[in-house]
Amino acid sequence: MNLNLEQVLSRELRPVAAPRELWDRVQLGQDVPGPIRARYLGWALAGLAAVLMVGIIWNFRTVPVVAAETDSPQFRSREATEIRGWVKANAGFDVPLRPGSVQLIGASVRNGSAEVVCRVGDRPARLVVSKSRPGPFDGARHHVLSSSWFRGGRALSWIMRGQLYTLACATPEDLKAACFLCHGG
């Protein structure tokens, strides 16, 4: 048996403290009889799914046709740090843009969503970000919700750190390259 493996497992699987909300959850469960609780859970899941779908559709709706580049952003800059700061000041949340190979054009904030406009190669691309409702996908991992062709382009939606992201590009290759918006390179 590998002692190093045991050490890694003991470290990574160590006990953690239960969230304070657990007691509230237990009390809530006591107040509601089992079958009704199950029904509430069903409705809650259905509601969450509906909220997610509305969020995706809303994000898609706010993503202009990728091929069009006629509208100008409210804030124009080629600097990731400037755009990041402007978005934070105007939208109230952070979009972790990093300097890299993607050519930034600017950003807009509309209806609570931040829209970063950029060019990947010679083609326009957009990243739309909005706050999502608190849920199980609030961690630092990309929880992919959908990947689809959209208005002649490719769109990818995911939730991460309590924010809903939709990246829309002209081609799948642009979508990959646009990852550098937040991942540098």
Binding site: N2, N4, L5, S10, E21, R25, G29, Q30, P136, S146
Partner: protein, 186 residues
Amino acid sequence: MVLDGNDRALIEACQCGDANAFRTLFEAYQDRVYSIALRYSGDPASAMDIAQDTFLKLLSSIRDFRAEANFESWLYRIVVNRCLDHQRKGRRLAPFIEELFDAVSAPAESVLNRILRDEEAGDVQRIVAKLPPEQRIVVILRYTEGLSYEDIARILGCSAGTVASRLNRAHKALERKLGHLRGVSG
């Protein structure tokens, strides 16, 4: 706070419906129950569901607890069963998520894949969460709770040899998948 295994008075108070006693019992065991649930499911939201179900089950069935039995083992059995139940319920959703992930991954090339994979690299909990349930629960009870083979066997209702066998298979699988991490090599 950790209850003495022989502290029957508190359990008897719970059996008589004493809400304060149940709160004390909850506070004594909440971290252990939540830790097992979190390490097993790999997901805080699922862990909350499992932990909540565990304590509700504890509350509803504590009258069935026999004084001569070991309370910790009895509680462990409840949380283990909740974990396995949760796994069974979640099985319907998993293929859908995997299909989504595959749909994204298939046309994508190196950059997107790399970003998604990088997040998994070194993520021991994620890899443990992918072990078969019977191996995973043994790993959790061993490394999160530090239980002996005999204790684990008692909780799972199997022999210590079976526990050793499952743990051995889990170790081999984990060594393969975690071999890229510093300090873990076969």
